[in-house]
């Protein structure tokens, strides 16, 4: 809370004339209440995202949010920014086209584990490989929530899902490891319990040049927790609180998540690498010298 908000409270301590909720300016308020279930963690992450945006002092007219399909994908529709709700799995290539056509934009991909890593997996690894300057906020609730709780590539072994009613037997992806292996320059994981650390990480990712990936382990009380008899949203949050171990700089191959096992959180990767555009410009200049007009894609044809 900043100084302005402290002073804004009236002298008499009246609770009527309070400054608004910091997240309110980021919401399409006319679309509230949202569709997420009671106890879902997605809204919590939106609070962190909005705080991080405020603190970053980025020009909000130049921030674009791109999402895919799923519960997390609905974030794009609720935030008061240029927002794009695209097709299942394809938020990252859409964001790539957007960022490269207008590098002045800060492009944030906000989507779920199924959307980004299953159907979107190929696009994920290539964008990371190329170090496209997009920020990926991946909410991992270990399931496909919107469609009724099916298996996801992150569902832990033995967990129940609607398509693995006898328990999952597939090895899940270790997302930070996948991101790092593919070439991401910033990799962090937090849970929805770690609101302050998450806000800070999002802020770092917003400022970072290059493919930045934040996994947010979250609860899906209606489906994942209910089917696996973990409890409600608060029970899962309590589990996040108890089971999380902060290990900045941990080796990502060791941070896989087992069913109700420990969750290693923290910032794992923060390196410097030229972005896709940097590399393109450098190579083009090297080969074309003065003939290289640049990668700027101007739409000069305006009526």
């Amino acid at each position: 809370m900043n100084e302005e908000q402290m002073i804004a409270a009236t002298p008499e301590g009246c609770t009527e004339c309070l400054p608004p909720n910091p997240v309110e300016g980021f919401l399409r308020s006319e679309r509230m209440p949202h569709i997420w279930c009671p106890g879902c963690g997605i809204g919590t992450t939106v609070n962190c995202f909005s705080r991080a945006l405020l603190q970053s002092k980025l020009d909000l007219n130049k921030v674009a949010v791109v999402s895919g399909i799923g519960c997390t994908g609905r974030v794009a529709g609720y935030v008061n920014l240029d927002s794009f709700h695209t097709t299942h799995g394809r938020a990252i290539p859409f964001a790539t086209g957007m960022k490269l056509a207008n590098p002045d934009l800060t492009v944030v991909v906000y989507s779920g584990d199924g959307d980004l890593i299953s159907i979107g997996g190929n696009h994920f690894i290539h964008a990371a490989r190329r170090n496209v300057d997009v920020k990926i906020i991946c909410i991992n609730n270990f399931t496909y929530g919107m469609t009724g709780g099916q298996l996801a590539p992150t569902t832990p072994v033995t967990a129940i899902s609607s398509t693995t009613p006898y328990g999952c037997y597939e090895q899940p992806f270790n997302l930070p490891n996948l991101a790092e292996s593919a070439g991401a320059v910033y990799v962090a994981r937090w849970t929805t319990y770690h609101v302050r650390q998450l806000t800070h990480s999002i802020g770092e990712a917003l400022r970072k040049k290059g493919f930045s990936f934040i996994e947010i382990v979250s609860q899906c009380p209606t489906l994942y927790e209910r089917r696996n008899k973990i409890g409600d949203g608060l029970d899962m949050m309590e589990y996040f609180k108890e089971a999380s171990v902060v290990k900045h700089g941990a080796a990502t191959r060791e941070v896989g998540i087992g069913f109700q096992g420990p969750i290693v959180v923290g910032k794992f990767v923060d390196i410097e690498r030229p972005t896709f555009l940097d590399l393109m410009d450098k190579q083009m200049t090297r080969t074309l010298d003065a003939h290289y007009t640049g990668s700027v894609v101007e739409d000069h044809v305006r009526g």
């Binding site: 609770t15 910091p22 509230m32 997420w36 009671p38």
Partner: protein, 95 residues
Amino acid sequence: MLEEPASEAKVPHVQPVPKKVRGTIKVTYNRCKGCGFCIAFCPPKVLEFSQEFNSHGYHFPQLKNQDGCTGCDLCGLYCPDFAIYGVMQKYGKKR
């Protein structure tokens, strides 16, 4: 449609600020879905569920008393429904 329930009256509009109050909360009652995060994770533990229901049938949070809220806004950070937030206030001083 979204009417504020009578419990609003429990938090008076105009009242001198006791020296201990450093913060307060604001609740948008009808957004609350009763998840309980704010109550569970409030550091000074000053929140509780109200007895009343909002229009969707959920109990919403309220301050147990006027003392103790630091205005840290952790409740606001946690709330998945954007239904509550905390604000710091100056100690009983005029602006």
